[in-house]
Each structure stands twice: as structure tokens, then as C-alpha cells.
Symmetry: C2
Subunit: 334 residues, 2 copies
């Protein structure tokens, strides 16, 4: 970086505008006419001018940045799941409209978790979004008590009062299980998600409730939302009950793994075994056969989280919970 | 946020340590013993102390943040492709080790592109990574000329001299096409990627070169790296040459779409038509049949980009190009 910095005055002289105009342009004000903005940016580029934004941040006490914390182990976050990328996408769309920067922090390791805590409490950001948590993470509540705006995806475990955006897991799963019962299936198994996540717990609860209503017994294996765990869990279910005729799988990715196991075991889908997933990611339209699944609006979860946080950061009162609807999408697998 | 800020002295008194120790802890120095770190953080939390990091940034002239620019239209970046998530994952792993923050910027729209330019030239970040570009984007070169450390994924179009990390597209595709020829295929088509991206251009060049060596004629359809475009392109190829017996597809996701089209058209894979993809994302192990594909080390691309940028930001000389190897992974589709 250059040691001797050109001044704001030099840029103003070069561009033939006032210092105030230069300041407005480099601070990103939209009120300056486009040709003048271009002239100023040209002068900034030619002189290598570096605006003193750290000083500005001292004055305004705003960073115009929002942190999104992905607390999964980094290797899982972007494995092949569409949930986290979808959340990132939704959040970034909304922040782009609000002209805020998205700072992505991984809190998978203990060290990472620690770093997130330092970064957020140091007020490098105007607010913090948490995308899906394992167990009862104390960090969101701690940040919120320090006055930092916080919004979570998914109802937090325990007694946290941090605002969140979630979907109607139980309603969606109930519709899926009822669809299987209505089409005459009698031995309906499930591949549940991780039981230290609300999405895993609630989808299993939905399955158990709907089955209990029908008087059928539950047949459960637990995966971790990855394809491989779905394949393994399906093998276990077939060993536990070779006569099972349907399976509700708590994510599309696990359902993809389960479909491979069923194919390898010579079971036809849906003739021998009906399969229903959860998520409705793009993959669901390309499996063989195309997957019947419970749709959750992943992109919209991200957008709503960002909107809630921006409202909170602006000092507005917001809802403690926003719960978005789910729907059963019928294709060929059930 | 609290109006009256507790002082560093107050935190030091509460924690029973020196001001210098408090300062080291809030600035994230790893040299402070864990129990003392805990005591300081406890005091910070109890008092709601806010370290004056903006002031620190004024002194050090470093932001400890790196921007990753995703210049695709936002809706494509996270659609279902594993390339961009893989890059984000690799970059974040490497930056986590270096204790740097990852700032994610979308430059899909013209406004977004503009915002990225403002943000980077305002030195909110220590350096900028560009993940895959369409056409000859002038932004990386412009930032580099202003003295901002820049590294791109993929060889830039045109005469840019910005450092980049890429893979051996042409070598990988040549091995794929030779494998098809060696196994007796005679009518080998391709589904190419977008021709305004180097990955699209180079993979098509690799196909044409390998076929030209064999004296066979090329049969080409162009997709945009999405599943749907692969399905559409495969229909077009079958119409153009119903007797084709193999297809090299420039991405696994397009190959997944092509497999669905072949299934719908009653063609068996690999008996009637052999299929080879490119990427080796997890999906490739779960398609029916499992996909033979050219593996590129996506995670490693992200890690190397980050490492090159950190070296550049530290004032080191770095290689103009790092080109990582690709390999043919044999499964059942070819």
C-alpha cells in the first residue's frame, strides 16, 4: 500500500468538484449524479486515494456489515446440502437490497466459535445471524444480552428468547405420513435427522405423532442429513423390518442415499417401498424416480432472517418467532 | 448500543489483570493463558465493554478481512452447483487458519458490481478474491493496478495479468475422450459449458483436440452448467445424431440432467450411450449408474487462492499462475 496518501482535496481538485461531493461518492451516497460519480471514481483511481473509512466508522458507530454464522463443522456446511447455500443466498439477496455487506463466519471448531464471539462483541458488525444450531449454543443469547441484534434460523434449543425464523416441520411431516397412510401403506419407517438439532427433533416428532394417531408402530433409524448416512440408515431399516413398505426421510439428500440402497437391495420405488423426502431441493426433480417431498422455503428463510435483523438493528420491535409454511410436493416416489 | 462505554481500566479491575492483558485478549492474541482469557472475557461480557477496534484499524492500516467476490448472478451461484460452495469452503478453511475474516460479496447485478468496486477501493479489506468470471471483467485488473492484492479463480479472459489459480481442463478432458475412444466408442458428442467462461471454452477445446487427433467428427451442444440445460442439450444431441454412442458433459450437474434425458429416451447407460462428466462432486457417486467423471480439486482451488492472496498481501512475490491437476475417475457410466 502507498505510504504517502493523496488527500481528499487532491481528489476534489482533479475531479473538479467539492470536497463534500467526493466524500458523498466515496461513502456510497446514491444522491450524486452518475457522471459526477464517474468523474470522482476516475480521480480516486488515478490518484490511488484511500478514504479513511475506519475514521468514519468511529464517528457513525455503524459498520454496515452483518455477520452470518454457520455453526456446522465447515466440512458439512458446503458438502452437497442445499440448506446452507440457500440460506446464504437468501440473506445476501436481502442485504444487497439494503446495501449491507455480508460477513461469513464459520464457527465449526471451538477456536472458530471463540473467534466469532470476539468478532461480534468487538462490534465489527451491526448484527449477527445464526444459521441452524447444534444443541443449546449459549452464544446467540449472550450476544443478544450484550445488546447486539441477533436472529437465528430455527427455534433454539432450551429457554433462549432470541428471535428466530423457522418452518412448520411437524405440519409438513404430518401431511407426508398421512399421504402414505391414505395410499394404503402399513409399515412406515423413518430416517430421522440429527437429534441435537431442532429440525431433526421436530421432524421425528411429526412422524411419531402422525403414526401414533393411526395406531401403527414406528420404525426409526437416525442419520446426520448426509447422503451417506441416508444410505446406511436405509440398510439398517431393511434389516430391522424387511417387510416395510414406506419410508419418510428427513432430508432430500438422505433420501437420495436411501434410494441407492433400495435399488441395490432390489426394491422398486414406489411399488415395493414408497419414499418421501424433506426440503424440495433441485435434486428432488432429478432422482430416479423423481422424489415426493415436503417443501420448505429455504431461500425465504434466509431473506426473512435478514429482514428481521435489519429491523431489529434499526431499533424496531420484531416478532419473537416467524414460522413459514411447508407443503407436500407429489412426484413419483410416493 | 450503550451510550456510556465502560473503560479498559474497568475491565482490567474486574478481571484482576493489567490493562495490557485485557488489550491482548480483546485483540485476540493467542499468547494469553486460557484461564486469564476466560476471566477477561467474563469481565468484558459483564460490563458490556466494547473495544475500540475502529481506532485500532486506523493505527494498523489492516482490516484482517478478505473479500471473496462471486460474480455469477446470485440465483445461479448457489442453485445446486458445488463449485462455488466448494470455493467458499476452501477459502474459509484457509482464512480461518490465518485468523482472517471472509467477506462475501455478490457482484451479479450491475449495482452489485459497482458496490464491490466501491467497497474494495475503500480498503475495507486487505485483498480480493474473484471466483470465476464471465467474459473479460475489467474489475480485477483495475483493483490490482490500484495496488490492492487480487487473485482470481480461473485464467481470466483477455490480456489480464492478475494472478490466478486454475486446473488443467484440457488434460482432463483429453483423458476422458481417449477413454471413450479406447473403449470402442465412435460417435462421441459433448455438452459444453458457457462459452463466455474459460472453464466452458477450455473443456470444449480439450474435446475438439482429442477428437481431431482421432479423425472423428465433433457433435456439440452448449449448456450453462445447470441440470436443466444438460437435459435440454442431451435432447438436442439425440435429435442431431440418434446413433451417438457416447457423450462428454462439461459438468456433473449437466451430466445428471443428461442422464435423465437418456433414461426418458430409453437409452441404457453405458450400454447404448457412455457418459462422462466433469467435477467429481458428491452427486457423481449417487447417480444411476454412478458417474465416470474428470475430477477437479475444487476445495484445493479455494485454499490455494486464499494462500496466494495472503502471500501477496504480505508483500511476497507469487506465481502468476497455479494450475492444479485433474484426473479421470472411472465408475459405471463409461
Amino acid at each position: 500500500m502507498p505510504r504517502e496518501r493523496p488527500t481528499l482535496e487532491a481528489v476534489a481538485r482533479r475531479a473538479g468538484v467539492s470536497r463534500a461531493t467526493v466524500s458523498r461518492v466515496v461513502n456510497g451516497s446514491p444522491t450524486v449524479a452518475e457522471p459526477i460519480q464517474r468523474a470522482v471514481r476516475q480521480a480516486v483511481a488515478e490518484l490511488g486515494y484511500v478514504p479513511n473509512l475506519a475514521a468514519r466508522s468511529l464517528v457513525t458507530q455503524r459498520t454496515d456489515s452483518i455477520a452470518l454464522i454457520l455453526p456446522e463443522s465447515a466440512s458439512r456446511v458446503f458438502s452437497d446440502d442445499q440448506f446452507f447455500p440457500g440460506i446464504v443466498h437468501g440473506v445476501s439477496q436481502e442485504l444487497e437490497e439494503a446495501d449491507k455487506q455480508l460477513v461469513l463466519l464459520m464457527a465449526g471448531s471451538a477456536a472458530g466459535h471463540d473467534r466469532v464471539e470476539r468478532y461480534a462483541t468487538a462490534r465489527h458488525v451491526d448484527g449477527v445471524l445464526f444459521a441452524s444450531m447444534h444443541g443449546a449454543d449459549p452464544l446467540p443469547g449472550m450476544l443478544a444480552r450484550m445488546g447486539i441484534p441477533v436472529v437465528c434460523s430455527g427455534r433454539p434449543f432450551g429457554r433462549s428468547t432470541v428471535p428466530y425464523v423457522d418452518v412448520d416441520h411437524i405440519g409438513g411431516v404430518s401431511r407426508a405420513v398421512r399421504h402414505l397412510l391414505d395410499s394404503g401403506r402399513t409399515r412406515i419407517a423413518t430416517i430421522a435427522g440429527p437429534q441435537d438439532m431442532v429440525a431433526g427433533v421436530d421432524r421425528l416428532a411429526g412422524y411419531r405423532e402422525a403414526l401414533a394417531d393411526s395406531g401403527r408402530r414406528s420404525i426409526v433409524a437416525v442419520g446426520d442429513f448426509t447422503r451417506e448416512s441416508g444410505a446406511v440408515a436405509m440398510r439398517q431399516l431393511l434389516a430391522d423390518d424387511p417387510a416395510l413398505d414406506a419410508v419418510f426421510v428427513a432430508s432430500d439428500l438422505m433420501a437420495h442415499g436411501a434410494l441407492r440402497t433400495l435399488r441395490e437391495a432390489g426394491r422398486r420405488v414406489p411399488d415395493d417401498v414408497a419414499v418421501i423426502g424433506f426440503d424440495d431441493i433441485e435434486l428432488a426433480r432429478y432422482t430416479d424416480p423423481p422424489l415426493t417431498t415436503v417443501r420448505q422455503p429455504i431461500l425465504e428463510i434466509g431473506r426473512r432472517m435478514a429482514r428481521q435483523l435489519l429491523r431489529l438493528a434499526a431499533g424496531e420491535q420484531i416478532e419473537q418467532a416467524v414460522v413459514l409454511p411447508t407443503e407436500l410436493v407429489l412426484r413419483d416416489s410416493a
